[in-house]
Homo-oligomer: 226 residues x 2
Protein backbone atom coordinates (compact mmCIF):
# COMPACT_ATOMS: atom_id res chain seq x y z
CA UNK A 1 0.00 0.00 0.00
CA UNK A 2 1.12 2.55 -0.57
CA UNK A 3 -0.32 4.22 2.22
CA UNK A 4 0.65 7.49 0.63
CA UNK A 5 2.79 9.85 2.42
CA UNK A 6 1.48 13.29 3.07
CA UNK A 7 3.71 15.12 5.51
CA UNK A 8 1.72 18.31 5.52
CA UNK A 9 2.35 21.23 7.84
CA UNK A 10 1.72 21.29 11.53
CA UNK A 11 1.76 17.57 12.12
CA UNK A 12 4.60 17.98 14.52
CA UNK A 13 6.64 15.13 13.10
CA UNK A 14 10.28 15.76 13.83
CA UNK A 15 13.53 13.87 13.13
CA UNK A 16 12.30 10.89 15.18
CA UNK A 17 15.60 9.95 16.79
CA UNK A 18 17.30 8.69 13.64
CA UNK A 19 14.51 6.35 12.64
CA UNK A 20 13.13 7.45 9.24
CA UNK A 21 9.39 8.00 8.93
CA UNK A 22 9.05 5.29 6.33
CA UNK A 23 10.69 2.79 8.65
CA UNK A 24 8.41 3.74 11.53
CA UNK A 25 5.41 3.01 9.32
CA UNK A 26 6.73 -0.49 8.67
CA UNK A 27 7.76 -1.52 12.17
CA UNK A 28 4.18 -2.44 13.13
CA UNK A 29 4.03 -4.62 10.03
CA UNK A 30 7.11 -6.52 11.11
CA UNK A 31 5.75 -6.83 14.62
CA UNK A 32 2.57 -8.33 13.27
CA UNK A 33 4.36 -10.68 10.89
CA UNK A 34 6.59 -11.89 13.72
CA UNK A 35 3.48 -12.59 15.75
CA UNK A 36 2.15 -14.82 12.98
CA UNK A 37 5.46 -16.67 12.73
CA UNK A 38 5.59 -17.11 16.48
CA UNK A 39 2.09 -18.54 16.45
CA UNK A 40 3.32 -20.99 13.82
CA UNK A 41 6.11 -22.07 16.17
CA UNK A 42 8.87 -20.59 14.06
CA UNK A 43 11.80 -19.75 16.34
CA UNK A 44 14.36 -18.33 13.95
CA UNK A 45 13.71 -16.50 10.71
CA UNK A 46 15.94 -15.12 7.95
CA UNK A 47 15.55 -11.63 6.57
CA UNK A 48 14.30 -13.14 3.32
CA UNK A 49 11.53 -15.11 4.99
CA UNK A 50 10.45 -12.33 7.31
CA UNK A 51 10.49 -9.85 4.45
CA UNK A 52 8.16 -12.07 2.48
CA UNK A 53 5.80 -12.42 5.44
CA UNK A 54 5.73 -8.66 5.80
CA UNK A 55 5.49 -7.92 2.10
CA UNK A 56 8.70 -5.94 1.70
CA UNK A 57 12.14 -6.56 0.18
CA UNK A 58 14.83 -8.31 2.24
CA UNK A 59 17.29 -5.44 1.97
CA UNK A 60 14.68 -2.99 3.14
CA UNK A 61 13.88 -5.15 6.11
CA UNK A 62 17.52 -5.41 7.10
CA UNK A 63 18.04 -1.68 6.77
CA UNK A 64 14.95 -0.98 8.83
CA UNK A 65 16.04 -3.34 11.58
CA UNK A 66 19.53 -1.89 11.61
CA UNK A 67 17.98 1.39 12.81
CA UNK A 68 16.97 -0.33 16.04
CA UNK A 69 20.34 -1.92 16.63
CA UNK A 70 21.66 -5.31 15.72
CA UNK A 71 19.54 -8.21 16.91
CA UNK A 72 20.25 -10.82 14.26
CA UNK A 73 22.86 -13.56 14.08
CA UNK A 74 24.94 -13.66 10.91
CA UNK A 75 24.65 -16.89 9.04
CA UNK A 76 21.55 -17.79 11.02
CA UNK A 77 18.85 -15.15 11.14
CA UNK A 78 16.68 -13.48 13.76
CA UNK A 79 15.29 -14.95 16.96
CA UNK A 80 11.57 -14.43 16.40
CA UNK A 81 10.52 -13.91 20.02
CA UNK A 82 13.45 -11.66 20.84
CA UNK A 83 13.08 -9.49 17.76
CA UNK A 84 9.39 -9.08 18.37
CA UNK A 85 10.05 -7.92 21.91
CA UNK A 86 12.65 -5.45 20.71
CA UNK A 87 10.31 -3.97 18.14
CA UNK A 88 7.51 -3.91 20.69
CA UNK A 89 9.47 -1.74 23.08
CA UNK A 90 10.51 0.56 20.25
CA UNK A 91 7.01 1.14 18.95
CA UNK A 92 5.47 1.31 22.38
CA UNK A 93 3.43 -1.86 21.94
CA UNK A 94 4.74 -2.98 25.30
CA UNK A 95 2.90 -0.19 27.07
CA UNK A 96 -0.84 0.13 27.56
CA UNK A 97 -2.32 3.08 25.71
CA UNK A 98 -5.77 4.33 26.67
CA UNK A 99 -7.79 5.39 23.62
CA UNK A 100 -10.90 7.54 23.26
CA UNK A 101 -13.21 7.24 20.27
CA UNK A 102 -15.27 10.28 19.30
CA UNK A 103 -18.21 9.55 17.03
CA UNK A 104 -20.10 6.30 17.47
CA UNK A 105 -21.76 5.92 14.08
CA UNK A 106 -21.32 2.79 11.99
CA UNK A 107 -17.60 3.31 11.70
CA UNK A 108 -17.06 4.27 15.33
CA UNK A 109 -19.00 1.20 16.39
CA UNK A 110 -16.93 -1.03 14.16
CA UNK A 111 -13.75 0.45 15.58
CA UNK A 112 -14.99 -0.01 19.15
CA UNK A 113 -15.62 -3.68 18.38
CA UNK A 114 -12.27 -4.09 16.68
CA UNK A 115 -10.61 -7.11 18.21
CA UNK A 116 -7.01 -6.28 17.35
CA UNK A 117 -7.37 -3.28 19.62
CA UNK A 118 -6.51 -4.85 22.95
CA UNK A 119 -4.18 -7.33 21.32
CA UNK A 120 -1.83 -4.52 20.40
CA UNK A 121 -1.66 -2.73 23.69
CA UNK A 122 -4.53 -0.33 23.23
CA UNK A 123 -7.36 -0.09 25.71
CA UNK A 124 -10.63 1.51 24.72
CA UNK A 125 -11.47 3.72 27.68
CA UNK A 126 -14.25 5.97 26.40
CA UNK A 127 -16.79 6.54 23.64
CA UNK A 128 -18.24 9.98 22.95
CA UNK A 129 -21.16 10.95 20.72
CA UNK A 130 -23.65 13.82 20.47
CA UNK A 131 -26.74 11.72 19.59
CA UNK A 132 -29.14 11.32 22.54
CA UNK A 133 -30.17 7.94 21.15
CA UNK A 134 -26.63 6.66 21.58
CA UNK A 135 -25.64 8.28 24.86
CA UNK A 136 -25.90 5.76 27.65
CA UNK A 137 -25.72 2.69 25.43
CA UNK A 138 -22.73 0.39 25.78
CA UNK A 139 -20.24 -1.21 23.42
CA UNK A 140 -17.66 -3.66 24.69
CA UNK A 141 -18.56 -2.65 28.22
CA UNK A 142 -17.92 1.03 27.58
CA UNK A 143 -20.84 3.42 28.02
CA UNK A 144 -21.22 6.19 25.44
CA UNK A 145 -20.72 9.65 26.97
CA UNK A 146 -22.26 12.91 25.75
CA UNK A 147 -20.16 15.08 23.46
CA UNK A 148 -20.59 17.91 25.94
CA UNK A 149 -18.67 15.84 28.47
CA UNK A 150 -15.71 15.38 26.13
CA UNK A 151 -13.32 17.44 28.22
CA UNK A 152 -14.23 15.64 31.42
CA UNK A 153 -13.94 12.22 29.81
CA UNK A 154 -10.48 12.90 28.42
CA UNK A 155 -9.29 14.32 31.71
CA UNK A 156 -10.62 11.39 33.72
CA UNK A 157 -9.19 8.72 31.45
CA UNK A 158 -5.88 10.46 30.84
CA UNK A 159 -6.00 9.41 27.20
CA UNK A 160 -3.41 10.93 24.88
CA UNK A 161 -4.53 9.00 21.79
CA UNK A 162 -7.94 9.67 20.26
CA UNK A 163 -9.84 8.40 17.24
CA UNK A 164 -11.97 10.95 15.39
CA UNK A 165 -14.81 9.16 13.60
CA UNK A 166 -17.20 12.07 13.29
CA UNK A 167 -18.67 13.64 10.16
CA UNK A 168 -16.24 15.97 8.39
CA UNK A 169 -17.86 19.17 9.57
CA UNK A 170 -17.50 18.30 13.25
CA UNK A 171 -13.97 16.93 13.05
CA UNK A 172 -11.99 20.13 13.47
CA UNK A 173 -13.95 21.34 16.47
CA UNK A 174 -13.66 17.98 18.18
CA UNK A 175 -9.95 17.95 17.44
CA UNK A 176 -9.42 21.38 18.94
CA UNK A 177 -11.15 20.29 22.11
CA UNK A 178 -9.17 17.05 22.30
CA UNK A 179 -5.87 18.82 21.79
CA UNK A 180 -6.81 21.38 24.40
CA UNK A 181 -7.20 18.54 26.89
CA UNK A 182 -3.77 17.19 26.17
CA UNK A 183 -4.39 14.65 23.41
CA UNK A 184 -1.24 14.49 21.27
CA UNK A 185 -2.02 11.71 18.78
CA UNK A 186 -5.11 11.56 16.61
CA UNK A 187 -6.32 8.97 14.14
CA UNK A 188 -8.61 10.84 11.76
CA UNK A 189 -11.32 9.00 9.83
CA UNK A 190 -13.11 12.17 8.77
CA UNK A 191 -12.54 13.15 5.15
CA UNK A 192 -11.07 16.51 5.97
CA UNK A 193 -7.52 17.44 6.92
CA UNK A 194 -7.13 18.48 10.54
CA UNK A 195 -5.16 21.49 11.63
CA UNK A 196 -3.22 20.84 14.82
CA UNK A 197 -0.45 22.61 16.72
CA UNK A 198 3.18 21.57 16.61
CA UNK A 199 3.83 18.42 18.58
CA UNK A 200 0.51 16.75 17.83
CA UNK A 201 0.56 13.78 15.46
CA UNK A 202 -2.30 13.13 13.10
CA UNK A 203 -2.80 10.16 10.84
CA UNK A 204 -5.59 10.19 8.33
CA UNK A 205 -7.47 7.16 7.12
CA UNK A 206 -9.95 7.89 4.38
CA UNK A 207 -11.85 5.06 2.77
CA UNK A 208 -13.06 7.21 -0.06
CA UNK A 209 -9.53 8.29 -0.88
CA UNK A 210 -8.23 4.78 -0.90
CA UNK A 211 -10.95 3.71 -3.27
CA UNK A 212 -10.29 6.76 -5.43
CA UNK A 213 -6.66 5.77 -5.76
CA UNK A 214 -7.69 2.30 -6.88
CA UNK A 215 -10.14 3.84 -9.32
CA UNK A 216 -7.29 5.89 -10.76
CA UNK A 217 -5.37 2.75 -11.58
CA UNK A 218 -8.45 1.11 -13.06
CA UNK A 219 -9.00 4.21 -15.12
CA UNK A 220 -5.48 3.90 -16.47
CA UNK A 221 -6.02 0.27 -17.35
CA UNK A 222 -9.07 1.24 -19.36
CA UNK A 223 -7.29 4.08 -21.13
CA UNK A 224 -4.36 1.87 -22.02
CA UNK A 225 -6.54 -0.11 -24.38
CA UNK A 226 -7.32 2.92 -26.50
Amino acid sequence: MISGLLPGPGTGTKPARGVPQATVARLPVYHEALGRLFAGHVEVVSSTALAEAAGVSPSQLRKDLSCLGTYGTRGVGYDVARLQRQIATHIGAASEWPVVIVGVGHLGTALANYAGFAARGFTLVALVDPAPARIGTSIQGITVSALTDLEEVVRNTGAVIAVVATPADAAQEVTDRLVHQGVTSILNFASTPLVVPEGVNVRKVDLGQELAILAFHEQRKVEEVS
Copy 2:
Protein backbone atom coordinates in the same frame (compact mmCIF):
# COMPACT_ATOMS: atom_id res chain seq x y z
CA MET B 1 -0.57 13.39 8.79
CA ILE B 2 1.78 11.05 7.29
CA SER B 3 -0.18 8.42 5.58
CA GLY B 4 2.47 5.81 5.18
CA LEU B 5 3.65 4.49 1.91
CA LEU B 6 4.50 0.87 1.56
CA PRO B 7 4.95 -0.04 -2.07
CA GLY B 8 5.78 -3.67 -1.54
CA PRO B 9 6.29 -6.15 -4.31
CA GLY B 10 3.59 -7.59 -6.46
CA THR B 11 1.17 -4.72 -6.21
CA GLY B 12 1.51 -4.20 -9.91
CA THR B 13 2.08 -0.49 -9.67
CA LYS B 14 3.90 0.69 -12.77
CA PRO B 15 5.14 4.09 -14.05
CA ALA B 16 1.56 5.40 -14.14
CA ARG B 17 1.78 7.53 -17.27
CA GLY B 18 4.08 10.16 -15.90
CA VAL B 19 2.01 10.84 -12.79
CA PRO B 20 4.10 9.97 -9.71
CA GLN B 21 2.59 7.64 -7.13
CA ALA B 22 2.72 10.28 -4.44
CA THR B 23 0.73 12.65 -6.61
CA VAL B 24 -1.90 10.03 -7.36
CA ALA B 25 -2.41 9.56 -3.65
CA ARG B 26 -3.09 13.28 -3.25
CA LEU B 27 -5.42 13.87 -6.20
CA PRO B 28 -8.44 12.53 -4.31
CA VAL B 29 -7.62 14.94 -1.49
CA TYR B 30 -7.69 17.87 -3.89
CA HIS B 31 -10.89 16.60 -5.43
CA GLU B 32 -12.49 16.49 -2.03
CA ALA B 33 -11.19 19.90 -0.99
CA LEU B 34 -12.50 21.41 -4.22
CA GLY B 35 -15.87 19.89 -3.43
CA ARG B 36 -15.93 21.64 -0.09
CA LEU B 37 -14.95 24.96 -1.68
CA PHE B 38 -17.60 24.52 -4.36
CA ALA B 39 -20.21 23.87 -1.69
CA GLY B 40 -19.11 27.13 -0.09
CA HIS B 41 -19.73 28.96 -3.39
CA VAL B 42 -16.06 29.66 -4.03
CA GLU B 43 -15.56 29.99 -7.79
CA VAL B 44 -11.87 30.70 -8.08
CA VAL B 45 -9.10 29.60 -5.75
CA SER B 46 -5.37 30.26 -5.55
CA SER B 47 -2.83 27.51 -5.10
CA THR B 48 -2.13 28.82 -1.63
CA ALA B 49 -5.76 28.63 -0.52
CA LEU B 50 -6.41 25.24 -2.08
CA ALA B 51 -3.21 23.88 -0.62
CA GLU B 52 -4.31 24.93 2.82
CA ALA B 53 -7.72 23.32 2.35
CA ALA B 54 -6.01 20.10 1.30
CA GLY B 55 -3.31 20.20 3.94
CA VAL B 56 -0.28 20.36 1.64
CA SER B 57 2.23 23.01 0.60
CA PRO B 58 1.38 25.39 -2.27
CA SER B 59 4.39 24.38 -4.34
CA GLN B 60 3.51 20.74 -4.00
CA LEU B 61 -0.03 21.42 -5.11
CA ARG B 62 1.13 23.31 -8.19
CA LYS B 63 3.60 20.60 -9.11
CA ASP B 64 0.95 17.93 -8.70
CA LEU B 65 -1.53 19.80 -10.86
CA SER B 66 1.08 20.43 -13.52
CA CYS B 67 1.17 16.66 -14.10
CA LEU B 68 -2.40 16.80 -15.34
CA GLY B 69 -1.82 19.72 -17.65
CA THR B 70 -2.30 23.39 -17.11
CA TYR B 71 -5.74 24.39 -15.91
CA GLY B 72 -4.99 27.53 -13.88
CA THR B 73 -4.93 31.16 -14.90
CA ARG B 74 -1.77 33.04 -14.03
CA GLY B 75 -2.35 36.01 -11.83
CA VAL B 76 -5.79 34.67 -10.91
CA GLY B 77 -5.93 31.06 -9.77
CA TYR B 78 -7.95 27.97 -10.58
CA ASP B 79 -11.59 27.72 -11.61
CA VAL B 80 -12.95 25.48 -8.86
CA ALA B 81 -15.64 23.69 -10.87
CA ARG B 82 -13.43 23.18 -13.91
CA LEU B 83 -10.44 21.91 -11.95
CA GLN B 84 -12.62 19.50 -10.02
CA ARG B 85 -13.99 18.09 -13.25
CA GLN B 86 -10.49 17.70 -14.66
CA ILE B 87 -9.27 15.84 -11.61
CA ALA B 88 -12.43 13.75 -11.59
CA THR B 89 -11.81 12.46 -15.10
CA HIS B 90 -8.17 11.77 -14.28
CA ILE B 91 -8.87 9.75 -11.16
CA GLY B 92 -11.89 8.03 -12.63
CA ALA B 93 -14.36 9.65 -10.26
CA ALA B 94 -16.44 10.51 -13.30
CA SER B 95 -17.11 6.84 -13.99
CA GLU B 96 -19.28 4.52 -11.94
CA TRP B 97 -17.30 1.74 -10.33
CA PRO B 98 -19.12 -1.32 -9.01
CA VAL B 99 -17.63 -2.56 -5.73
CA VAL B 100 -17.93 -5.88 -3.92
CA ILE B 101 -17.36 -6.17 -0.18
CA VAL B 102 -16.23 -9.53 1.18
CA GLY B 103 -16.69 -9.99 4.91
CA VAL B 104 -19.71 -8.40 6.57
CA GLY B 105 -18.58 -8.21 10.18
CA HIS B 106 -18.60 -4.95 12.10
CA LEU B 107 -16.14 -3.35 9.73
CA GLY B 108 -17.74 -4.65 6.56
CA THR B 109 -21.10 -3.40 7.77
CA ALA B 110 -19.69 0.02 8.51
CA LEU B 111 -18.15 0.16 5.05
CA ALA B 112 -21.40 -0.91 3.44
CA ASN B 113 -23.17 1.92 5.23
CA TYR B 114 -20.46 4.41 4.34
CA ALA B 115 -22.15 7.44 2.85
CA GLY B 116 -19.20 8.83 0.89
CA PHE B 117 -19.34 5.67 -1.17
CA ALA B 118 -21.89 6.65 -3.78
CA ALA B 119 -20.87 10.30 -3.58
CA ARG B 120 -17.53 9.44 -5.11
CA GLY B 121 -18.66 7.31 -8.00
CA PHE B 122 -18.64 3.94 -6.29
CA THR B 123 -21.66 1.68 -6.26
CA LEU B 124 -21.92 -1.12 -3.78
CA VAL B 125 -23.16 -4.05 -5.85
CA ALA B 126 -22.62 -7.07 -3.61
CA LEU B 127 -21.89 -8.26 -0.09
CA VAL B 128 -20.38 -11.67 0.59
CA ASP B 129 -19.97 -13.50 3.88
CA PRO B 130 -19.64 -17.11 5.07
CA ALA B 131 -21.82 -16.82 8.21
CA PRO B 132 -25.26 -18.42 7.77
CA ALA B 133 -26.69 -15.88 10.19
CA ARG B 134 -25.73 -13.06 7.84
CA ILE B 135 -26.50 -14.61 4.48
CA GLY B 136 -29.82 -13.31 3.21
CA THR B 137 -29.88 -10.21 5.40
CA SER B 138 -29.71 -6.82 3.68
CA ILE B 139 -27.66 -3.66 4.10
CA GLN B 140 -28.39 -0.59 2.03
CA GLY B 141 -30.68 -2.67 -0.12
CA ILE B 142 -27.97 -5.21 -0.91
CA THR B 143 -28.58 -8.82 0.16
CA VAL B 144 -25.63 -10.70 1.62
CA SER B 145 -24.54 -13.63 -0.57
CA ALA B 146 -22.85 -16.82 0.58
CA LEU B 147 -19.08 -16.98 0.34
CA THR B 148 -19.44 -20.09 -1.80
CA ASP B 149 -21.17 -17.96 -4.42
CA LEU B 150 -18.28 -15.49 -4.58
CA GLU B 151 -17.29 -16.39 -8.13
CA GLU B 152 -20.83 -16.12 -9.41
CA VAL B 153 -21.42 -12.80 -7.68
CA VAL B 154 -18.28 -11.22 -9.10
CA ARG B 155 -19.06 -12.51 -12.57
CA ASN B 156 -22.64 -11.26 -12.49
CA THR B 157 -21.78 -7.80 -11.20
CA GLY B 158 -18.69 -7.35 -13.33
CA ALA B 159 -16.92 -5.72 -10.41
CA VAL B 160 -13.19 -5.09 -10.78
CA ILE B 161 -12.79 -3.39 -7.40
CA ALA B 162 -13.24 -5.39 -4.20
CA VAL B 163 -12.94 -4.68 -0.50
CA VAL B 164 -11.53 -7.47 1.67
CA ALA B 165 -12.82 -7.08 5.22
CA THR B 166 -12.37 -10.67 6.36
CA PRO B 167 -10.27 -12.02 9.24
CA ALA B 168 -6.57 -12.25 8.38
CA ASP B 169 -6.54 -16.00 7.88
CA ALA B 170 -9.22 -15.91 5.18
CA ALA B 171 -7.92 -12.88 3.32
CA GLN B 172 -5.45 -14.57 0.98
CA GLU B 173 -7.84 -17.26 -0.16
CA VAL B 174 -10.58 -14.75 -0.81
CA THR B 175 -8.11 -12.59 -2.71
CA ASP B 176 -7.01 -15.47 -4.91
CA ARG B 177 -10.60 -16.20 -5.81
CA LEU B 178 -11.36 -12.55 -6.50
CA VAL B 179 -8.32 -12.15 -8.72
CA HIS B 180 -9.20 -15.33 -10.55
CA GLN B 181 -12.55 -13.78 -11.45
CA GLY B 182 -10.95 -10.68 -12.89
CA VAL B 183 -10.79 -8.31 -9.93
CA THR B 184 -7.78 -6.04 -10.42
CA SER B 185 -8.02 -3.62 -7.49
CA ILE B 186 -8.33 -4.63 -3.86
CA LEU B 187 -8.72 -2.59 -0.71
CA ASN B 188 -7.39 -4.77 2.08
CA PHE B 189 -8.55 -4.26 5.66
CA ALA B 190 -7.15 -7.57 6.90
CA SER B 191 -3.95 -7.25 8.90
CA THR B 192 -1.93 -9.43 6.57
CA PRO B 193 -0.14 -8.52 3.35
CA LEU B 194 -1.78 -9.98 0.25
CA VAL B 195 0.14 -11.66 -2.51
CA VAL B 196 -1.25 -10.84 -5.93
CA PRO B 197 -0.08 -11.25 -9.51
CA GLU B 198 1.40 -8.45 -11.59
CA GLY B 199 -1.21 -5.97 -12.69
CA VAL B 200 -3.38 -6.19 -9.61
CA ASN B 201 -3.37 -3.20 -7.27
CA VAL B 202 -3.68 -3.64 -3.55
CA ARG B 203 -4.03 -0.95 -0.92
CA LYS B 204 -3.86 -1.89 2.71
CA VAL B 205 -5.68 -0.12 5.50
CA ASP B 206 -4.82 -1.42 8.92
CA LEU B 207 -6.28 0.27 11.97
CA GLY B 208 -3.92 -1.49 14.32
CA GLN B 209 -0.92 -0.36 12.35
CA GLU B 210 -2.06 3.23 12.28
CA LEU B 211 -2.51 3.20 16.03
CA ALA B 212 0.87 1.54 16.45
CA ILE B 213 2.52 4.33 14.52
CA LEU B 214 0.87 6.88 16.78
CA ALA B 215 1.99 4.89 19.79
CA PHE B 216 5.54 5.03 18.49
CA HIS B 217 5.44 8.80 18.51
CA GLU B 218 3.91 8.86 21.98
CA GLN B 219 6.61 6.50 23.12
CA ARG B 220 9.21 8.92 21.83
CA LYS B 221 7.60 11.80 23.64
CA VAL B 222 7.79 9.85 26.88
CA GLU B 223 11.41 8.87 26.33
CA GLU B 224 12.42 12.41 25.54
CA VAL B 225 11.77 13.42 29.13
CA SER B 226 14.37 11.04 30.48
